[in-house]
Assembly symmetry: C2
Homo-oligomer: 187 residues x 2
DNA sequence: GAGTTCCTTTAACAATTGTTAAATTGTCAT
DNA sequence: ATGACAATTTAACAATTGTTAAAGGAACTC
């Protein structure tokens, strides 16, 4: 659990009492490759902290598997469009590499917001950072070419080195074939 | 100011003390068409509530004017990628229709977060809703065709009826010419 | 209301990306 | 190692979107 609180410290440092409260709604799990951490069609009731490994959020559009997000070690992953609306999500979370994960119960967390303003602030700051990341990604999808987006991605070695190209393609908003073509012209 | 608190009530109802505190960091302004509410290159130090009128967030990519977001009456607008990072924004906010606006000072707001957990909660909820909206928009840009995105937009009559097509085009991530072509095939 | 400017459409052509299918390469279990 | 399966590349063609330029319409100023 130490890693989790170190991660929290990057945003906001909790006092001892708040930490204990958080520990009460957390559990550690190990998940193996290709397993679904969260299935389709269910409301997001758990936030995950990836201690080690990789997860992705994905869904199907017209039968095609589309990756919306990758989460590597030392990061939080959650389907926010369900978490913040309470509605069922059409997205699932899948593990891409055997992972050590801390599961944080959402109903418990929301109750802690009332008792510990520190915890509410911490998660506010965490999700604000996620919001900024999403705005930047939206911007790149709005008016950058597929090649520009791929070149940007090369700056994130984790994704390039550890993720199959088929998932990278859909993450970039293009087909595998198109990505393969772009890669070949860059050689 | 009544409208503002009515808007807040949709997310979280503040008590009297919190309302007074908010009023202390707000001022009402009238802004005329085409004026810049916020210039390029400055850090976001103000959040705006649109009482009446329309605003848009935009920026230039390779010299081309791109609209990232429209805000109509009874909505909040802010450049979150600057607001939440403290970094200067390369985006500006422009008024598209003469507007009545409530300007909320950001440094003051952040100070109120410490004194009034209610206020921190309110804005947490407001920006969580914005986050969800952005995730949904990203999804539509990632794997929907331009025509699908335009058809989706037709469901938002405010945008179609009150915004010039050139701004709608860049908002959809396409050129004016392409949008015009899509419109003509739909007739 | 004449003239100017801006917005939108249309057309022709270029570039990019999608689609389908086949070939190649890589991975994994036995 | 062998076979089976998954991932990636390549190729040919189709569809979509971008680019440039010109023309028509709408809105605004004086």
């Amino acid at each position: 659990m130490d890693e989790l609180f170190k991660y929290f410290d990057e945003f906001y440092s909790l006092n001892g009492e708040s930490r204990e409260a958080i520990e009460g709604i957390c559990s550690e799990i190990q998940v193996s490759k290709n397993e679904l951490l969260q299935p389709f069609g269910h409301t997001c009731k758990t936030i995950y902290y990836i201690k080690s490994g990789i997860a992705r959020i994905f869904y199907y559009k017209d039968g095609v598997d589309i990756t919306e997000y990758f989460a590597f070690e030392n990061n939080i992953v959650a389907r926010v469009e369900s978490l913040f609306t309470g509605k069922p999500s059409k997205k699932a979370i899948q593990i891409l590499e055997e992972s050590q994960i801390v599961a944080i119960q959402v109903p418990g967390l929301f109750r802690l917001y009332d008792r510990f303003p520190q915890i509410e602030r911490l998660f506010r700051l965490i999700f604000e950072a996620g919001y900024v990341e999403t705005v930047n990604r939206m911007e790149s999808l709005q008016f950058h070419s597929a090649e520009e987006r791929y070149l940007d991605l090369l700056k994130k070695p984790d994704i390039i080195q550890r993720i199959p190209l088929k998932h990278i393609a859909s993450y970039l908003g293009i087909t595998q074939v198109s990505l393969s073509r772009i890669r070949s012209t860059l050689k």
